[in-house]
């Protein structure tokens, strides 16, 4: 099913949770709503589900206005952040709930219910746990029950609120792959909310980056990571060095030194802010490159992290150097080095909005 969100706004007292948000989710797509807390991603998801109501705008399911229909009638499968399993019911009863509460005329017979629930439990690979209570399950197992319960009503769309938020790192990775596979089997239009960029980039067909109640960028994982539309998106998707500079003829210049091999996108001349990923910052022997002084080196893991102060600038920058790099032995605290950016993304200092306040990562 295709979902169209049109100009949806929502406020809680003085807090603007959503500001004229528009978005289309295509049939069978898996879309991530990614953003820091307070960015409105969960509110958007709840508005789509019908658990919350937008103040303005509309939400269309396959072209039909769903705004006025009750969550009960929308046939959305909603997986709650903390699962919201019915704690006094067994796993089996939890999954069967949506079938048992159907109107008498539509309610399947007990045999059919049993059959359907067993099939679902098999699908989420917990068929042996049907008799347990939620309190007797691990976090990952509860997540699977919540999913099976949502799928039981044969929803037209699956909505997941921070589906892996409450799980530890290892289970999280495992469940992520499994959900990806499940989605490619079921082809069910799905939207999930996350604040974890890695999760969004790995799992989703398309990523919707949100900040302060607005959509900052929509694109495939590659698009949003490689071509962030705003400083906010750049900083939110991974580590970033911010270097205030000038742009002249499409080159990022600091103290008269062009320090980036590639500068994108093309913007007019004037003051700008250049964003450089740590792994794009290279230490070179070329003395014409930017001079810097090493302040700290962390050499654990596959890459060495080198913190440097750019000479004549307050800013500290961080570079990631392969452990195999020939320069590594010379990189000691206090050493004078020269750096160059392989790639810098520049945003005009005049046009760019201030960096997202507060919880932006």
């Amino acid at each position: 099913m295709r979902i169209d969100v049109r100009n949806v706004s929502k406020r809680f007292q003085d807090f603007r949770a959503l500001e004229r948000v528009s978005l289309t989710v295509n049939d069978g797509e898996l879309v991530a709503l990614l953003g820091p807390s307070g960015s409105g991603k969960t509110t958007l998801l709840r508005c789509i589900s019908g658990l919350d109501f937008p103040d303005a705008g509309e939400i269309l399911f396959d072209g039909d206005d769903a705004s006025s229909s009750h969550v009960r009638d929308r046939k959305v499968g909603f997986v709650f952040q903390h699962y919201a399993l019915f704690r006094h019911m067994t796993v089996f009863e939890n999954v069967a709930f949506g079938l048992r509460v159907k109107k008498r005329a539509e309610r399947p017979t007990p045999d059919v219910i049993k059959e359907r629930v067993s099939t679902l439990l098999r699908l989420v690979q917990i068929e042996q746990l049907g008799g347990r209570y939620p309190s007797q399950l691990s976090g990952g197992q509860r997540q699977r029950v919540a999913l099976a319960r949502a799928l039981a009503i044969e929803p037209r769309v699956l909505l997941l609120d921070e589906p892996f938020g409450a799980l530890d790192a290892k289970v999280r990775k495992e469940l992520r792959r499994w959900l990806r596979r499940l989605h490619s089997d079921l082809k069910l239009t799905s939207v999930f909310v996350t604040h974890d960029q890695e999760e969004a980039l790995e799992l989703a067909d398309r990523v919707v980056v949100m900040g302060a109640g607005r959509i900052e960028q929509v694109g495939t994982p590659t698009e949003v990571y490689d071509r962030p539309a705003s400083p906010f998106v750049f900083e939110f998707l991974g580590n970033a060095n911010r270097i205030p500079c000038m742009v002249e003829n499409g080159h990022a210049i600091l103290d008269g030194i062009p320090f980036a091999r590639h500068t994108a996108p093309r913007i007019g001349d004037g003051p700008a802010i250049a964003f450089v990923r740590p792994h794009d910052l290279e230490i070179v022997s070329d003395v014409r490159a930017l001079p810097a002084t090493i302040r700290h080196v962390t050499a654990a893991g596959p890459v060495a992290k080198v913190e440097m102060a750019l000479d004549g600038l307050q800013a500290m920058v961080e570079a990631e150097i392969p452990r195999s790099s020939e320069h590594l032995p010379d990189l000691v605290v206090g050493a004078k080095v020269n750096v160059v950016a392989r790639e810098a993304r520049v945003f005009s200092a005049n046009a760019a909005p201030p960096p997202a306040a507060g919880p932006a990562a």
Partner: protein, 284 residues
């Protein structure tokens, strides 16, 4: 013998522990155990047959019937109220919510005598709620069963709501929202999700409400009129017998109420334990 619960580094010396424990137990013995012991002693002083005779007189049996009737009306009425109030307060955000919860507790801070008096003001011979009219039409509200039921309802008013509101607030609305999103109707959600989750708390509230309903003295005393065999509840019957210097009969009837209290306490302890267990399960 008296072990400390915490680590030994923060425990009092053994002597202090003994002194404190004996002081506390002594206080409780004087104020809790001895009155109960006196009660049993006085009730059985004249032997079992006299005891049985005292609790089976016509007046006493009539009092028991009236007490049961009053509780049978007041308790369910307050359960319905408690559930409705808890649903509104715990599951929704609205203006004036804290005012409402304060008002629910109001009957607890009103003297039972005043609780009875308000109905005298309403339904007495010059009562403002149609007292004279009721008298003209021969409808007895005051000094009759209706006022006894009303007074009982007043004093037991907050019990169920008070138990349910914090419990339902703690449980939040996620499970209800999940049920609705799975297609359940409001009543289905309530009966299949909300109610099973608060069943122990509800039972707890009913238990306390019932104990108070059957044991209420002051409020009922004001509105009853003390007509023997007709408008005396069990606690009033205790008073009547006591004032007649029929002391052992009075204690015999009182022992029935004490038994109710002890049963209530035991059931409450069992529920406490049950509660702790289900809470541990939920927290797990």
């Amino acid at each position: 013998m008296i072990a400390s619960r915490g680590a030994s580094s923060i425990a009092e010396p053994v002597v202090v522990r003994w002194i404190l424990t004996l002081l506390a137990l002594g206080f409780l013995a004087v104020f809790l155990c001895m009155p109960l012991a006196v009660l049993v002693h006085e009730a059985l002083k004249k032997g079992i047959p006299a005891y049985l005779a005292a609790i089976t007189t016509d007046d006493t049996l009539a009092a028991i019937r009236l007490t049961l009737l009053a509780a049978a009306i007041a308790v369910p009425a307050n359960v319905v109220f408690g559930v409705a109030a808890a649903w509104a307060v715990a599951k929704f955000e609205f203006v004036g919510k804290s005012v409402l919860t304060t008002l629910i507790d109001l009957p607890f801070s009103v003297s039972p005598v005043i609780a009875g008096m308000v109905y005298v003001l309403m339904f007495g011979s010059s009562g403002w709620a149609g007292g004279p009219w009721l008298m003209d039409h021969g409808i007895k509200v005051l000094f009759a069963t209706p006022a006894i039921v009303l007074a009982t309802t007043f004093v037991t008013f907050p019990f169920v709501a008070r138990e349910l509101i914090p419990l339902m607030q703690e449980q939040g609305t996620e499970e209800e929202l999940a049920a609705i999103s799975l297609g359940a109707s409001g009543w289905q959600t309530f009966f299949r999700v909300t109610l099973p989750n608060v069943r122990w708390g509800l039972l707890y509230g009913v238990l306390l409400c019932n104990a108070r309903a059957m044991g209420e003295f002051g409020a009922v005393s004001v509105v009853s009129g003390h007509i023997r065999g007709k408008t005396n509840t069990v606690p009033l019957q205790v008073e009547v017998l006591f004032n007649d210097y029929n002391i052992s009969a009075s204690f015999a009837v009182a022992s029935l109420l004490a038994l109710l209290a002890v049963v209530t306490l035991v059931a409450k302890s069992v529920l406490d334990w049950q509660f702790a267990r289900s809470r541990r399960r939920a927290a797990h």
